[in-house]
């Protein structure tokens, strides 16, 4: 792709290609997430048990004002990258969505801040898998 054609959306398209990567390690490497600290200031709300893996509610939220990006990864999904959200100035680092979990899995969120990446991670037990 020519350099001039690279805008934020081209970048988003490249990142979206990460949506077809098959391991968490590949996703993190592709997005440049090499080191992180677990943080209690990063709230990841998920059910402990999901009856239907096709429709699992998720909420990610942080009181930290310098969070500019959330990367959500379902570690045992066939395509682990769920979403990569970037928040411009004036947007609260908060997202509410519904995701698929192919099987019981840890779900992790990585938040980019000025001080590096923070992580929160939770395990969700899935009764009926929603093939990812």
């Amino acid at each position: 792709m020519p350099l001039l054609a690279r805008g934020p959306l081209a970048e988003a398209a490249e990142i979206a290609a990460a949506g077809t990567l098959k391991t968490t390690e590949d996703v993190l490497r592709t997005l440049g997430i090499r080191a992180w600290q677990t943080s209690a200031d990063l709230l990841l709300n998920l059910p402990d048990v999901a009856e239907n893996g096709a429709l699992v509610p998720i909420e990610v939220n942080s009181k930290l004002l310098d969070v500019r990006r959330f990367v959500v990864v379902a570690e045992r999904n066939p395509f682990p990258l769920i979403a990569d959200f970037r928040f411009e100035a004036g947007t609260l680092p908060w997202i509410d969505a519904r995701i698929k979990l192919a099987e019981s899995s840890h779900v992790a969120v990585y938040a980019e801040t000025a001080r590096g990446w923070l992580q929160a991670r939770r395990f969700v037990r899935v009764i009926a898998g929603g093939c990812g």
Binding site: P8, L9, A12, A13, I15, A16, A18, G19, T20, A54, L55, V56, A74, N77, P78, F79, P80, L81, I82, A83, D84, F85, R86, F87, E88, G90, T91, L92, W94, I95, D96, A97, R98, I99, K100, L101, G130, C131, G132
Partner: protein, 106 residues
């Protein structure tokens, strides 16, 4: 070009100092590996990127994988917001289809 087969239901509500933007997008979000009710495996068809804009300014930019549920429902919170602000949500999928929906803050 908007694809009317996949409409967006957009609701914007004002809460004190924030705008809550809730979007329900009709989209199959097929991963390309999951079987449907008929036992077939539909080819991959999922939203790869979306944006939320206020008055033409991008406030949220999302890159999505196929792990977002069918008929995605998202909620975001934006600081500020006044009556008359124009909120726009648009998306594009891996097959080049796209859709958008605007709403005016009341």
């Amino acid at each position: 070009m908007a694809d009317n087969n996949f409409p967006i239901r957009l609701r914007v509500t004002r809460h004190e100092s924030t705008l809550q933007v809730k979007a329900l997008i009709q989209h199959p979000m097929d991963s390309g590996i999951a079987r449907d009710a008929q036992g077939r495996v539909p080819p991959a068809h999922f939203i790869t990127q979306l944006t939320v804009q206020v008055n033409g300014q991008v406030r949220v930019r999302g890159a999505l994988g196929p792990g977002i549920s069918r008929n995605p429902l998202f909620t975001w919170r934006l600081a500020g917001g006044a009556a008359g602000d124009e909120v726009l949500v648009d998306w594009e999928d891996n097959l080049g289809m796209s859709g958008k929906q605007g709403a005016t803050v009341t």
